[in-house]
Amino acid sequence: MNMMSATDCLLQMCDEQFDLEDYQSGVPRWCTGCGDNAILTAVQRLCRDEGLRPEKTVFVSGIGCSSRFPHYMKTYGFHGIHGRALPVAEGVKMSRPDLNVFVNTGDGDCCSIGAAHWIHALRYNMNITVFLHDNQIYGLTKKQASPTSPIGTKSNTTPRGSYLEALNPLTVTLGVQNVSFVAQVVDWVPEVLFDVVKAAFHHRGLSFVRIVQRCPEWLPKSLDPWLHDPQRLLFLNHEKGLQASEGLSRLYKNQIIHDPSDLSRARDIASSIDPIPVGILYRNPEVPCYEDLRNSGMLRTTAMAKSGLNAEFDKFTVWPEAEQAQAA
């Protein structure tokens, strides 16, 4: 029997109501038509619908167009270093497990310079929600090929078209030990984008969502074939995953049943580039979170913080000679 005690009830009587505006901060500087706008809207809806308290919520990012995300959220944010969003977020989660931690990262940020952090973050499986804004290009630095650029992409670094097969972030993710949540969605189907964002937030562990994102500025036409042909999206339905609504099913008829606990089938599906699979590929709530495994239960008192800091500073401190002599 798990009834709430009178005190628990009392403690829960303070839920506040929030509006979308409570999470909006500034006017996004993204290009008009940029897919990042859709992601921002979906995430702000999530915050509002879940009543996430702004002071208990952090968005961490690296560098790139997509990494400007924290500026547009009226919550805590950390616009970090290129490729290092994940380690920063892990640090935040480790010391403040009570916070809702989100990461926004681009395909360059995550799959290129930050690839090592990406792999290890998956293995650490901390309770963080990660959005990979995959526009298949370096947007902010004005069009250089990224690891996810399709072969033949002409860019400032590959004027004759890129030479390598694109890296598939889904198959990479699904190959890492301890992976616990992988989903994919496209920025132009807002209903599913929202559902996936929500499912990712509710998963306990690292939820990795690859969002196929349009960059109308540098690759204006590259996703048009998928944008204009509903048959080229493959919806993954399951009672344990997401279920396409009737309205959606009228337009997007290409659907299959996929059980998100089936890892090998998830890997098969992940390999498909056309049609683009949309929905939850894999979910395993049993994988332990690193912050739980390492929780010592010790209180961080001021004294403890001070002695820790001092120990670190002492490694670099150079004492004036006079004082050294005195100490001796």
């Binding site: 403690l11 009587m13 979308l20 008009t32 859709a38 920025d187």
Partner: protein
């Protein structure tokens, strides 16, 4: 009837024993035959002595010596394992002897003492064996034998270990709250004028940098540039009060808030009477409420959620209706250890008050003698009956954890004891210690084991938290052979011709009574020469209610000090007791689902109904096929039996009435002439809203719709439709036929209609 048999019957009916026919049993030192092998307990391996473990987390709070030794032996490997086994078992026996002889101490001290007694100093092989085995025993603690003091020691020890866990969790929580509240106050101070004063800044940076810093300038800068967001005075006061309450709590011995030494002296929660416990409880209740309220408010404060307008009034009323068990769970439990011998009427009433209070109070009610007759004489409650009655009443209260057990079985009930101690409401542990056996030359262990075996004091547990019904809550299976009236064991002996004989013997209440010298007048030994076929076993004599003069007399098989077999007849008084005891056992069996009368009645009724149905079906079958014949028979002609067997055919009309499935929400038909946006598909790309934010606007989910079609030109509509990333803007027909360039625009718009 022969003389001898006449004398037997007379003894059975009147208890009068003619000396020439029957012997008195006093002084013969007789025991029930099944006890023959338990003469020297210290030579046997059984659950005692127990080690009351010092307690590391994850360790059981008590473990039997033999269990520890077995575990250590099973971990031995390598050479000479068999030798080591023998040595260690000898040591175990030695320890058992020391403990039975009254030696106290921890396992370590007694191990060493026993090892020395066995001559470890001179026997290298022995020393080696013991050393190896000792490594396999990870736990240590005081040893206790199964004596009069054991039940209270064991329960108190288990209770202490539960309280220690609680104290650790409680202490951790209080330390966290203290730290966080102090941090809130400190951050308030840092942003106050005093916090930003040059003096405070200098102190926080340290003197080493006095020359390099201008603290006055720094103070000026901070005071003017940073917002002044000091707390309202009420919040500061509230937090200080919380710190006071948390720091002065006396429920657990904790270091005080400053971390220096101990705080106020902690309350005592162990009592030897209900009265004293009740006084303490009443006195402390306001403190419990105060502390629980402080903890709840502190949690809200720390989370930044305390809202005076909302919470002040709510917390004013906190605890006014008493505290619920869940709120009390972090607080210590009370433990009362008392003896039925001292249970006077007033104390009895207080015990009932405690048990029905729903509060976390644990009571050990120990009975040392369940056979002592009450002063009023036969037919009235013995103390054993009294404790059984209290246990029954406690079960009737529904929310009391009740455990009844003989001392001998407590080691086996270890986990159930712990469950009772951890239970969130009251718990009653009713224990028979077996101490009364001493007067008859029997150990407490044997006496209490016999009480359980003979159903005089059955073991059971009732755990209200285990589920919603008796089947999940009540546990009777600890008793031997629960589905029988009396447990039956094979008894092997040698007859006069040295032939080995094996016979099944039931251990009844009468066997238990026969161990007690106070009952010897109800027994008479039949000299071997007078043994005859009309002497029957007690359980057999209990099976039927006979009228008139008995032809057969109940008789016990007993052994004397030399283990030679004796036959002892018993009188009717003991048989009546045995019958009463069996009835009580039957009630317990019913509670435990063994031979449950309701279940059996139901089963019989169902069986009968089923048989009748089968019978009728067979009979009505030809009729049934007649109904199915082409000429439709009127419904009334359908045989009742088949109507009962087949669900009435109402399916068709029911489904006809069922509401039609909810219609798929039809999209509002859009006229191709109207401009519109498929809003749910909008990806918030800003194209249209930047073109004309009067014409295009976002809804509450930040998805675009046409807010005012008059607010712009048809040209803008078409342009928006062309730039919309997901092509969901439909321009419709122009509203102003005079707009220039319409023809070209209409052509462009065609793509998006």
């Amino acid at each position: 009837m022969e003389d001898a048999q006449q004398a037997h019957v007379a003894f059975f009916l009147t208890g009068r024993r003619p000396a020439d026919q029957l012997d008195a049993v006093d002084g013969l030192n007789l025991r029930p035959a099944l006890f023959a092998r338990y003469r020297t307990l210290t030579e046997l391996r059984y659950d005692f002595p127990l080690v009351l473990a010092d307690g590391g987390s994850g360790e059981p709070f008590a473990e039997s010596l033999s269990g520890l030794v077995d575990a250590a032996l099973s971990g031995l490997s390598g050479s000479e394992t068999e030798r080591a086994r023998k040595h260690v078992l000898r040591l175990e026996q030695e320890i058992r002897k020391l403990v039975a002889g009254g030696a106290g101490g921890t396992l370590t001290t007694l191990w060493d003492k026993a090892a020395d007694a066995l001559g470890r100093g001179t026997d290298k092989a022995l020393e080696d064996s013991l050393k190896r085995a000792r490594k396999g025993i990870k736990l240590d603690g005081e040893l206790t034998d199964c004596d009069e003091a054991m039940p209270a020691r064991l329960i108190r020890h288990g209770w202490s270990s539960v309280q220690q866990h609680k104290a650790a969790a409680f202490g951790k929580n209080i330390a966290k709250l203290n730290l966080k509240l102090a941090e809130i106050l400190r951050s308030d101070f840092e942003s106050s004028a005093a916090g930003r004063s040059a003096k405070n800044l200098r102190e926080s940076v340290g003197s080493a940098h006095d020359d390099t810093f201008d603290f006055a300038a720094m103070s000026r800068m901070l005071s003017t540039s940073l917002p002044k967001n000091a707390f309202p005075e009420s919040r500061r006061r509230r937090i200080s009060q919380l710190l006071d309450v948390l720091g002065s709590q006396r429920f657990f011995p904790l270091p005080d808030a400053s971390g220096n030494g101990k705080g106020a002296k902690a309350y005592e929660f162990f009592f030897d009477s209900c009265a004293a416990a009740l006084v303490a409880l009443r006195e402390r209740m306001p403190r419990v409420v105060e502390l629980a309220r402080a903890i709840a408010i502190a949690e809200l404060e720390i989370d930044g959620q305390y809202n005076e307008a909302r919470h002040d009034a709510l917390f004013e009323q906190f605890g006014a209706n008493g505290m619920d068990p869940q709120d009390l769970a972090p607080f210590p439990d009370y433990l009362i250890c008392m003896n039925t011998a001292k249970l006077q009427a007033a104390e009895h009433a207080q015990l009932m008050e405690i048990l029905s209070s729903g509060l976390p109070i644990k009571v050990l009610l120990q009975t040392d003698d369940i056979l002592k007759e009450s002063a009023i004489g036969e037919g009235n409650l013995t103390s054993g009956m009294r404790s059984r009655q209290i246990a029954n009443m406690a079960m009737g209260l529904n929310e009391v954890y009740v455990l009844q057990s003989s001392a001998s079985n407590l080691a086996r009930f270890r986990d159930r004891i712990l469950r009772g101690l951890a239970y969130r409401g009251p718990a009653l542990f009713s224990v028979f210690s077996g101490a009364s056996g001493k007067a008859s030359g029997l150990s407490a262990y044997l006496t209490s084991a016999a009480a359980m075996e003979s159903r005089a004091f059955p073991a059971f547990a009732y755990d209200p938290s285990a589920g919603p019904n008796w089947a999940s809550r009540f546990y009777l299976d600890a008793n031997p052979q629960v589905d029988l009236d009396w447990p039956v064991q094979a008894f092997d002996y040698e007859d006069e011709d040295h032939q080995s004989v094996s016979q099944d013997l039931a251990f009844t209440l009468v066997d238990f009574l026969a161990c007690d010298r106070r009952y010897s007048k109800h027994l008479a030994r039949v000299p071997r020469a007078k043994w005859n076929g009309s002497m029957i076993a007690v359980d057999e004599s209990l099976t039927g209610e006979k009228r008139g003069l008995p032809e057969k007399v109940p008789c016990l098989l007993m052994v004397d000090a030399d283990n030679s077999l004796q036959k002892v007849i018993v009188d009717d008084r003991l048989i009546r007791e045995a019958r009463r005891c069996r009835e009580m056992w039957h009630s317990l069996q019913e509670l435990g689902g063994v031979h449950n009368s309701h279940a059996e009645t139901l089963l019989a009724r169902e069986k009968k109904a089923w048989e009748e149905r089968m019978h009728q079906e067979v009979e009505s079958h030809p009729q049934a096929s007649a109904v199915a014949a082409p000429a439709p028979a009127p419904a009334a002609a359908a045989p009742a039996a088949s109507a009962a067997a087949v669900p009435p055919a109402t399916a068709a009309p029911a489904s006809a009435k069922a509401p039609a499935p909810a219609p798929v929400e039809a999209e509002p038909e859009k006229s191709p002439d109207d401009a519109y946006i498929e809003t749910p598909r909008c990806s918030t790309c800003n194209e249209c809203t930047q073109l004309n934010d009067k014409m295009f606007a976002y809804n509450e989910n930040k998805q675009a719709y046409i807010a005012n079609v008059e607010a712009g030109t048809y040209a803008q509509l078409v342009e928006a439709a062309e730039s919309c990333q997901v092509s969901i803007i439909h321009p419709g027909k122009p509203r102003n036929p005079k707009e220039p360039g319409l023809e070209a625009l209409l052509k462009r718009a065609e793509l998006f209609q």
